[in-house]
């Protein structure tokens, strides 16, 4: 990989931005061509886009309040079932709130949980992992020991413990998910950086007098971003599902905030007489996480040269 000289004089954040832009420009045409060869990833991408749009424009596409309902209107079935009405297209929940509205607003919560928990994990994991893999030595051994220690905690137990002690809520949930979530990115980044460090282009940059920080940011990071990105998509799906698992134990997001996980958990006792309360948000989770996972998988097929479609 070559580096244009003007970039070196810019502040670090511009580097990252620039790297992304360069990557995009270079790859966008390629990427699009590849993506069209991979219809599953394409469809998955479209599904994700729909979810994002639904989250963004939730207040515009529904007239109901996601957090308010009336007990007199509770457990009304979806419109197509007997007793349903188009006022509540997907029915109402145990508090008489419109499920369609809660699904739309819940998309905000679920996407935010996925993006934030993975985003923070990637930043921490990548920074520490790159530093550990590049500099090695004491820093590496301390960080790696700590990572090993955290790895030895089962993820869910760890998250349950943290949530139980801090109490349910959005911020606490993100904290609980990232406390341990960064470790996997740390290990991946560390390994990849160690491998990249021995490559010729790094040697070349060294010889040309670049500083370590610059090399890490401008030379190595772009090359390991692909694998980080693939792992990130997988973890994002996992985090969204974990929100639901924690809600099952009453450790999710505070009511009445609509979060799919707590909606599924809340409705599980009425599966026999009001299947829609739990099933509809459950399907919302399944479709989103499936789309994210299949998109990530397709992405890997496209990005990983070893798996190139012949």
């Amino acid at each position: 990989m070559t580096t244009s000289t003007d970039i070196r004089t810019q502040p670090a954040w511009r580097y990252l931005l620039d790297i992304r832009l360069r990557l995009w420009r270079r790859n966008l045409a390629d990427f699009w061509a590849e993506l069209r060869k991979h219809p599953v990833a394409l469809i998955a991408g479209v599904v994700i886009l729909i979810y994002i749009l639904a989250a963004l424009f939730a207040p515009q596409i529904t007239a109901h309040d996601p957090e308010r309902g009336s007990l007199r209107q509770r457990l009304i079935p979806p419109a197509w079932e007997e007793g349903g009405s188009w006022t509540y297209p997907l029915g109402t929940d145990g508090q008489g709130r419109d499920i369609y509205t809660r699904i739309l607003f819940g998309a905000r919560v679920s996407l935010a949980v996925g993006l934030l928990s993975v985003g923070i994990s990637v930043i921490i994991g990548l920074a520490l992992g790159a530093a550990a893999g590049y500099y090695r030595g004491r820093l590496d051994s301390i960080l790696s020991r700590f990572a090993d220690l955290l790895m030895a905690f089962p993820f869910l137990i760890f998250a349950i413990g943290v949530m139980a002690f801090m109490g349910p809520g959005f911020t606490n949930l993100i904290l609980a998910l990232t406390f341990k979530g960064w470790v996997e990115f740390f290990r991946l980044a560390r390994g990849e950086v160690m491998a990249e460090k021995t490559r010729e282009y790094v040697e070349a940059a060294r010889v040309s007098g670049q500083s370590h920080t610059r090399i890490m940011l401008s030379e190595i990071t772009p090359n390991i971003m692909q694998s980080i990105f693939v792992l990130a998509t997988l973890r994002m799906g996992f985090m969204i599902v974990t929100e639901a698992s924690l809600s099952f134990l009453g450790l999710g997001i505070q009511p009445p905030t609509p979060a799919w996980g707590s909606m599924v958990a809340d409705g599980r006792n009425t599966l026999l007489n009001a299947w829609w309360v739990s099933t509809i948000p459950g399907l919302a989770i399944v479709f989103l996480v499936l789309a994210i996972n299949l998109f990530g998988e397709g992405l890997r097929d496209i990005l990983d040269p070893r798996l190139k479609i012949e």
């Binding site: 219809p39 599953v40 469809i43 308010r68 309902g69 009336s70 007990l71 007199r72 509770r74 457990l75 079932e81 145990g94 508090q95 139980a164 002690f165 109490g167 349910p168 009453g250 505070q254 009511p255 009445p256 809340d266 599980r268 006792n269 009425t270 599966l271 026999l272 007489n273 009001a274 299947w275 099933t279 399907l283 399944v286 499936l290």
Partner: protein, 576 residues
């Protein structure tokens, strides 16, 4: 590609449809309860001091012996939680007692509708205000064949009230000591007579003795607590076979059972040959297990599933008066909640009937104040605060809270009136409904769910405003309950073990203290009535509701009634 997506959707929809298909059973007319009335025996009052407000006429089925019927003779009960111990002296959980009561008997027992009855005691006499004398039944056998005598009773109670009597796993004192705290000592008079010496007169003594079960002295001394919990032995209708507390506990009929409380149910050995308690904490699984025929009785049916189960052929739903009154305590030291008018207004703003009808399917009662309406000393003249938003608005206006800018929201001190309602996950549905009603009324109320152990220190520091929770009342007596909830805390902070409102009224305190030791029933009623009237008026809480205990069984289960204190009495139960 289209095929692929279509197939995926088809799979998911298939799952959904199958679900909705199995979700709606064909409605059928099925009788809710099966009660066979053969002979009606009017129960005689046996207790010395204890009276019980009998809800309805007591009708009892009395058979000479409960004859086992052919067919599967194993009865399986789905428990809603996990018992703590096999040792009747080493737990403080209701659920442990639920299970243990089938292997152990007490001196006295209780029936949901008719109060305390003699069990292992043949008679109970109050010799003087602080001395009870119990005559024991003769010929009562432990599961190992040895006979129960006064020594076992003395040993049982000494093991509870004396320090460090339980030696396994580390020497410690019974956590049940506090339940019979006024019991100072127990003396053997002769082989079948014991005397209980109290430190002060204690009116609810008999109610509290119900919760202590007799253990065999000789066996416990030879095998120790460790051996005892590995294989517990009592005098109850079932003997222990095997089991693990958080999985399943298997018991079989004890052929030499002495018979059981003569006032209650059939006497003689138990009807079913094997009884199993299975721990199924997840409500949806418990219901599924009943529907699949894997268990015969389940506890704690979620209110929303009551109708589904009641309409399912072969399933019977039964209820008992609840013992877990729920209220929202208001911090009386925090403005504007320090104003009685504001607290009364909040009581008028919650539509309890709407909540009961829709959230509980009618299976709950509105609380008429500080005590559950089923408490023996509840004042029947008190009526629940009616839902009356107009009255609330008047009261609030009087207290300086009004919708001054006409936006439909109340303002206080120049800003929108806002406070947080704290509660626990187990009360989620109720708390959400209450907060929604407050918001509907124009109060900016927000809900916050906590874990009890996390919120409790905050409550005790007086940092919270409104706290929605319950407080158990299974002894049907104000003692313990009134003292914990509504008695002012003298030392240190105004907030106590159960008093989260900081309520402290000198006269109420006096009345509660007097009620604890007053032995004259009428005088005691008078004391508690006055206290209840004061608490009702000062409203240190929004008095909410008392849900019923809802249990369900398969129709094969005969002669079973759920109990308010969640006891599952399997002695009387037969399988068809």
């Amino acid at each position: 590609m289209r095929t692929y997506r279509l197939l995926l959707i088809a799979i998911l929809l298939g799952v959904t449809l199958t679900l909705s298909a199995c979700a709606t059973p064909t409605p059928q007319v099925v009788k809710e309860t099966v009660v066979v009335k053969e002979t009606v025996v009017v129960k005689e009052e046996v207790q010395v001091e204890v009276t019980k407000v009998v809800e309805k006429e007591v009708e009892k089925v009395v058979e000479v012996t409960a004859t086992p019927v052919p067919g599967r003779q194993t009865l399986i009960v789905g428990l809603a939680g996990i018992p703590d111990s096999f040792d009747p002296a080493d737990h403080r959980s209701r659920l442990s007692e639920t299970v243990l009561r089938n292997m152990f008997d007490g001196l006295v027992t209780r029936d949901t509708t008719s109060g305390v009855h003699l069990e292992l005691a043949e008679s109970a006499t109050l010799v003087d205000p602080t001395t009870y004398e119990f005559k024991l039944r003769q010929g009562v056998k432990f599961h190992d064949g040895s006979e129960m005598t006064a020594d076992d009773v003395v040993f049982t109670f000494n093991r509870i009230i004396q320090e460090n009597m339980i030696e396994y796993p580390d020497p410690h004192t019974s956590p049940r000591k506090g339940l019979i705290a006024p019991l100072a000592s127990v003396e053997k008079v002769d082989d079948y007579t014991v005397r209980f010496i109290l430190s002060a007169p204690w009116p609810p003594a008999m109610q509290m003795f119900v919760h202590q079960q007799i253990v065999p002295k000789a066996y416990l001394e030879s095998v120790g607590t460790q051996g005892f919990v590995a294989h517990p032995i009592g005098v109850g209708p079932f003997k222990f076979v095997e089991g693990q507390l958080d999985d399943q506990i298997v018991m079989e009929r004890f052929a030499d059972y002495w018979g059981g409380a003569p006032d209650l149910g059939p006497s003689g050995p138990a009807c079913v040959s094997t009884a199993i308690f299975r721990v199924i904490p997840e409500a949806s699984t418990r219901v599924a297990a009943l529907l699949a025929g894997e268990v015969d009785i389940i506890q704690a049916v979620p209110p929303d599933l009551v109708d589904v189960l009641a309409q399912t052929p072969g399933i019977v739903v039964k209820t008992a008066a609840g013992t877990q009154p729920k209220w929202m305590e208001l911090n009386v030291n925090q403005a504007p909640l320090d104003n009685k008018l504001v607290r009364q207004a909040l009581n008028h703003l919650i539509d309890k009937e709407l909540i009961i009808e829709h959230l509980y399917g009618g299976r709950a009662a509105a609380l008429p104040g500080a005590l559950s309406p089923f408490n023996n000393f509840a004042d029947p003249s008190l009526q629940p605060y009616p839902y009356n938003p107009e009255r609330a608005a008047e009261l609030l206006a009087e207290a300086g809270i009004a919708d001054s800018d006409g936006d439909g929201k109340y303002e206080w001190n120049g800003a929108p009136w806002a406070f947080v309602v704290d509660s626990l996950e187990e009360h989620r549905a109720l708390a959400e409904a209450v907060v929604a009603q407050l918001q509907e009324a124009g109060i900016d109320a927000q809900l916050r769910l906590w874990e009890y152990s996390v919120v409790k220190p905050l409550l005790q520091a007086g940092e919270r405003s409104a706290y929605l929770d319950d407080w158990g009342d299974s002894a049907f007596d104000p003692v313990g309950h009134m003292e914990a909830k509504w008695h002012g805390v003298e030392a240190g902070s105004p907030y106590g073990r159960g008093n989260f409102s900081g309520y402290n009224n000198a006269r109420v305190n006096e009345l509660i203290k007097a009620g604890e030791t007053e032995t004259d029933v009428d005088a005691r009623h008078a004391l508690y009535n006055e206290a209840q009237a004061l608490i009702y008026d000062e409203a240190p809480a929004v008095f909410l509701i008392l849900p019923e205990e809802v249990e369900a069984s398969s129709a094969r289960v005969q002669n079973w009634e759920p109990a308010s204190d969640s006891r599952v009495n399997l002695h009387d139960v037969c399988l068809q």
